[in-house]
Amino acid sequence: MAEHFEGQEPLLQDVRGLFRRVDPVPDGLVEMSLFAVMIEQLHAEAGTVELEHVETPELVARSNEASEREIVRTGTITFACEPVTVMINLSESPTGMLCVDGWVAPAAQYRVELYQPGARVTVDSDEDGGFVLLDVPEGPSCLALRRVDGEGPTVCTPVIEL
C-alpha cells in the first residue's frame, strides 16, 4: 500500500517514519472499522426485509459499544426473531479456542456466517438446522443466517463478545 507515497518529499518520509514510531495506528483499528461497517451493512440488509430487530436474551447486551457488551465464554445463548430461533452453545475447543454448536429453528438448511474483525467464516447447517463452528477466536462476533433455499429473511445476532 506504499504506492501513494511515491515521490514524496524525503522530509515528509522522515516525519511519517517518526509518527509511525511515536504514535502508531493501533493494531486492529482497520479491522475493527471494517467490522463495524460490516455489521452496519448486515443490519441495513436485514432492515430491507423488515427484520432488523433481533430479539436477544438478557444475557447478551444489545449495545454495539464494546465496553457495554457482555463477554460470553461458555453456556447456551438463544436468539429469537419470529419465526427464527437460534441457539448457540459455547465450549472450549481442544486448541483452547471456542467451539460454537448451534441449532436453528424452523428446521431447514441454513448458510451460517460468523463475522469477526478481519475474518468471516461460512458453514452450511445440516437439514435439521444444526451447525458447528470449530476453533473460533475470542472477540466481537456476529452470526448471520440465511436459508439455503432462499426462503425467508436474513437474520443476524447482535454483536456479542465471545
Binding site: M1, E3, H4, F5, E6, G7, Q8, E9, L11, L12, Q13, D14, V15, R16, G17, L18, F19, R21, V22, D23, V25, P26, L29, V30, E31, M32, S33, L34, A36, V37, E40, Q41, G118, A119, R120, V121
Partner: protein
C-alpha cells in the same frame, strides 16, 4: 479465514468521473495510471452504492492512518481516537448513498474526522471537569498525555528525537498539516488544507511554509546536521 485487508496489486481503474482540479493530480508510473487517494475514495463510494465493497475495504486500509493522525493531532487520547476513527467510517457508509459528490469523499472524511475529534475532546474535557469536581477523587490522574511517554522516547533513535523536538517547535497548525500530509499522497494536500481550515489559494504556500519552517529549524539544530 481472512476476508478483509487482502493486500492486492490490482487497482480499480474505471468509473471515476474526474473533476478538473484532480486531473492534474494524476500521476503516471511506467505508463500505468495511478489513482489518487481522493479518486479511490470516490470510486469506493460509487462501488459501495452498487454493493461492491472491495474498493471500500482498500480505502479504509489506506485512509485509516491519515484519519488516525488527523484525530490524534487534535489531542484526542489514543483510546478515544480509535472510537472516533471507527465512528467516521460508520458515518461514511451511512452517508455513502446520499453523498452528492463522490469526488468530495476524501475531504468529507477529513472534515468529519476533525469535527468528531473536537467533539470527542470537548466531551472528554467535560467528563474530566466533572471528575475534578468530585471530592477525594482518587481515580483522576491528570489530563491524558498525547505526547509519547518516556518509554517511547527511549525507543526513539537520536535522529527521531531531533526530528520530534523540531516538529514540536512548529506552530500548532503547521504540526498538524505536516503530520497529516506525511500520511497522504500529494493530490490530497488540497483536501487536507481545506479540511484544516486553510484557504484553497494558500494551500501550496502553507504546505511549503510549514515544511520550510521545519527545514529551517532542523538546519539550525546541530543534532540534525550529523544525522540528516
Amino acid at each position: 479465514m481472512g476476508m478483509v485487508v487482502a493486500e492486492t496489486d490490482t487497482r480499480p481503474c474505471s468509473g471515476v468521473s474526474r473533476t478538473r482540479e484532480n486531473q492534474g493530480a494524476m500521476s503516471t508510473d511506467g505508463g500505468a495510471v495511478q489513482l489518487t487517494l481522493g479518486d479511490r475514495a470516490a470510486l469506493a463510494v460509487e462501488a459501495y452504492r452498487m454493493g461492491v465493497t472491495d474498493p471500500f475495504t482498500e480505502v479504509v486500509t489506506e485512509i485509516t492512518p491519515v484519519l488516525w493522525h488527523l484525530v490524534r493531532a487534535q489531542n484526542v487520547p489514543r483510546e478515544l481516537a480509535e472510537d472516533v476513527v471507527q465512528g467516521v467510517w460508520l458515518a461514511f457508509v451511512r452517508n455513502a448513498a446520499t453523498l452528492r459528490d463522490p469526488q468530495g469523499a476524501l475531504k468529507w472524511l477529513l472534515v468529519t474526522a476533525r469535527r468528531a475529534a473536537w467533539e470527542a475532546v470537548r466531551k472528554h474535557r467535560e467528563a474530566e471537569r466533572r471528575a475534578e469536581a468530585l471530592p477525594e477523587d482518587e481515580v483522576h490522574g491528570g489530563p491524558p498525555s498525547t505526547e509519547p511517554g518516556p518509554e517511547d522516547a527511549l525507543l526513539l533513535s537520536e535522529r527521531d528525537r531531533v526530528l520530534w523536538r523540531n516538529v514540536r517547535a512548529l506552530p500548532e497548525r503547521c504540526q498538524e498539516i505536516v503530520r497529516i500530509m506525511a500520511f497522504a499522497d500529494r493530490a490530497s494536500y488540497k483536501d487536507i488544507a481545506e479540511a484544516t481550515g486553510m484557504g484553497v489559494t494558500s494551500v501550496g504556500a502553507t504546505r511549503g511554509r510549514c515544511l520550510d519552517k521545519l527545514r529551517t529549524l532542523l538546519a539550525s539544530d546541530e543534532g540534525w546536521g550529523s544525522h540528516g
